[in-house]
């Protein structure tokens, strides 16, 4: 929802805190996911993730979530899905060149990033975000994160 999306950026700090809290809770529950079977667990987690994040961030379930690196403004809402924005077409009023009624996702990202920490990740360290892994589409990025942390077999395709 557009209005929620803006609220999440405005409250980027608590939103990010809760987001990480939830993520670490899900990681701690790994034994449970293992017992239930990872495949079945992912489906359940994905169901909740999809609904919660669609409401709060207009999430597109790319499965490659970078919200904490983009000031809690989801770059998948950029019509060009730019992971390292903004592009050169931002309007004078700060709105998108493709969707003139929408605030540029990346102007929002900078706004949110400034609130996260003084050395928020977009601003000083020049980190370049990797292109989206399209194999993760419609998968739970939370679950993928859990498995990255808990899976020690070294298999990239968890």
């Amino acid at each position: 929802m557009y209005i929620m999306r803006k609220i999440m950026v405005t409250s980027a700090k608590p939103a990010n805190y809760i987001y990480h809290l939830l993520e670490s809770a899900l990681v701690k529950l790994d034994p449970l996911w293992k017992r239930l079977g990872y495949q079945r667990s992912e489906k359940t987690i994905a169901f909740f993730e999809k609904n919660i994040k669609a409401f709060l961030f207009d999430c597109k379930m790319c499965g490659d979530c970078v919200l904490d690196k983009t000031g809690m403004s989801c770059p998948m809402n950029c019509p060009k899905q730019i992971r390292n924005g903004p592009c050169g077409g931002v309007r004078d009023n700060g709105n998108c060149e493709v969707k003139p009624e929408m605030r540029c996702v990346w102007i929002e990202a900078w706004r949110g990033a400034k609130k996260l920490t003084p050395d928020s990740r977009i601003t000083p360290d020049l980190e370049i975000l990797a292109p989206v892994n399209h194999r993760h589409k419609d998968r739970s990025s939370w679950f993928i994160k859990i498995r990255e942390i808990t899976d020690t077999s070294g298999d990239r395709n968890v």
Partner: protein, 331 residues
């Protein structure tokens, strides 16, 4: 002369020069810039035809006044001859090309293949762009690809060149020696972050930058000052973009309809007040080029004379920015 010999002589006269220490490409643009000469590049209008002569005719308009020619990649999301096609025709004549690559129409598989193909045809320079949205062009129903963005595209081509491998890690048997470029728009919001974004492009691999039209020189000077202060101009060559406005009406149209292009009021006023607005627009361009050359950190000019390509020679000569230097031309 046999075909093989003819190709060889075109190569030695044009691109594919012998490798030089500290250089990444075998092209002339990088040499001119590293030599400290003030460079001039221009955008060629790709034809809406399948006729090679159209391309040669349009390129010849720039003979002797530009160091490299930008081949646009469906700019404004409109269909034209591809940048790959234009480049392959013109490198055969020895022209120095800047192949523009937009992320709008091709995914990472297609783009990396094009990089190899273009490099094999002596394209020495590539300009990495995110690209315009499809909605602005003549095929708004098209599927926007945007698998990569300008930053990740820069990183990927740099990896191909420096590490001799694809993004996937698979090895190349010959790396493409390319001089890597990117675009910058110092005039679009968020203004405060534009220099930071430039720094990011340098980190990603940009070695030269071509900017959006520069009309607002106070704003551009401020941008350049910050770039110089951050030491960016020691790592990247900045070519300031200029253009010719044919009339006040079209300048107003651009201001209203093309986001990210900043045309100050004085430009509109001068065009309005002139009996010959087309000439006035060219005069403005000449004056801007001369003033831009004086700004610290500016290494060259990039001319985007949309629908006025035939005036480029005259504009460059009148501006005197080449200081009497005559860039290579087929001869």
């Amino acid at each position: 002369m046999s075909e093989q010999h003819r190709m060889a002589s075109a190569d030695s006269a044009g691109e594919n020069l012998p490798s030089l220490a500290g250089h990444f490409s075998n092209g002339r643009l990088e040499r001119v810039l590293r030599n400290g000469d003030f460079a001039v590049t221009a955008e060629i209008a790709p034809p809406d035809s399948a006729d090679a002569e159209d391309v040669y005719r349009r390129a010849a308009l720039f003979d002797g006044v530009v160091d490299a020619i930008n081949a646009t990649d469906g700019s404004g999301a409109n269909c034209h001859m591809s940048s790959m096609g234009v480049c392959s025709l013109l490198t055969r004549k020895g022209y120095s090309m800047i192949m523009q690559i937009s992320c709008r129409d091709k995914n990472r598989i297609a783009i990396q293949g094009d990089v190899l193909g273009a490099s094999a045809m002596n394209v020495a320079n590539m300009l990495c762009l995110s690209g315009d949205g499809v909605d602005t062009g003549d095929h708004p129903e098209a599927k926007p690809v945007f698998d990569l963005d300008s930053m990740t595209l820069l990183q990927i081509i740099r990896k191909m060149r420096d590490e001799s491998e694809f993004l996937s890690g698979r090895k190349l048997t010959k790396a493409p020696p390319v001089f890597l470029g990117a675009a910058a728009n110092p005039f679009a919001e968020p203004l405060n972050y534009r220099v930071h974004r430039l720094a990011k492009k340098v980190v990603a691999g940009a070695q030269f930058i071509q900017t959006q039209y520069c009309f607002d020189l106070p704003l551009f000077s401020e941008y350049m000052k910050r770039a110089v202060d951050l030491g960016l101009t020691e790592k990247v060559f900045i070519l300031a973009g200029v253009g010719t406005m044919p009339s006040a009406a079209s300048a107003l149209w651009i201001r209203k309809n093309i986001p990210g292009i900043n045309i100050p009021e004085w430009v509109i006023k001068r065009l309005k007040g002139s009996d010959n607005p087309k000439k006035e627009g060219q005069d403005i361009c000449v004056e801007l080029m001369q003033q831009l050359k004086e700004i610290e950190g500016v290494s060259g000019i990039h001319i985007m004379a949309f629908k006025q390509e035939e005036s480029v020679k005259n504009i460059v000569n009148r501006s005197g920015v080449l200081d009497g230097r005559v860039p290579w031309m087929p001869g």
